[in-house]
Amino acid sequence: MSRVVHNRIAIFRADAGLSRRELAEVVGVNPQTIGFLERGDYKPSLELALAIAEHFGVAVEQIFSFEAFPSLSQQLNMRS
């Protein structure tokens, strides 16, 4: 069984003002791997997922999910 793992690393990264290279250095991976994760071409290990969540100071399910995350515009429309 292979399920799609959605993530919003790019949003958290942009919010923190980090480049892929900087995030990669923090979590100890190749900058290419961050690109792979953001595009959904690679599923991270639990260790890497936790390291990314730890860096942004949120729970891992806030960044990775089996369900697609709503877009920013959808979230803003829901609030207003």
Partner: protein, 170 residues
């Protein structure tokens, strides 16, 4: 362990970037340099095997140098595969996957060779007879595994684009 690029890869990146003056060109050139040298070393090892088949005593030595040359290229210049550096989990996965594909191909060929030798009475395939011929066969087999693995990695790794990660969306 923090991630760090291998010195060999960093050197080849710098040299090819200086030569081609574009990150895209540098990536392509370094990739094909690794591919080219790997092919050369693999050919050397196979040439050693052929020499051994035709009775040359130096065949096993040539195959040995081909194998060691391929190993050196793989460890020093293959992106994502090197000792002492921090390859990350995706690169390790790619490295093991390439080894699995390459060793599978070589094992299938060896099994075919053994079956063909055993099944067809009277059909004379080559069989090693001296110690040096066995050595040459072993070195050529190992060289084939690592050479094919290096080629698979070169083909599967995405473009690197060292200084343009953000712009090019790598």
């Amino acid at each position: 362990m923090a991630y760090q690029t291998s010195r060999g890869v960093a050197w080849i990146d710098r040299a090819t970037k200086k030569l081609t003056e574009t990150p895209d060109g540098a990536d392509r050139l370094s990739r094909w340099l690794v591919f080219g040298f790997t092919t050369l070393m693999l050919s050397l090892a196979l040439m050693g095997l052929v020499m051994a088949v035709y009775g040359s005593d130096r065949g096993s030595l040539v195959a040995f140098f081909g194998m060691m040359g391929g190993l050196f290229v793989r460890l020093a210049f293959q992106r994502g595969i090197h000792f002492g550096g921090g390859t990350d989990e995706r690169e390790r996965l790619l490295a093991w996957k390439s080894m699995a594909v390459a060793s599978g191909i070589v094992c299938c060929l060896l099994i075919f060779w053994m079956l063909a030798n055993g099944a067809y009475d009277g059909v004379q395939l080559w069989v090693p007879e001296t110690a040096k011929q066995w050595h040459a066969l072993a070195f050529a087999s190992l060289a084939s595994v690592q050479g094919l693995a290096s080629m698979v990695v070169v083909l599967l790794q995405p473009p690197y684009l060292p200084d343009a990660d953000e712009e090019f969306g790598v």
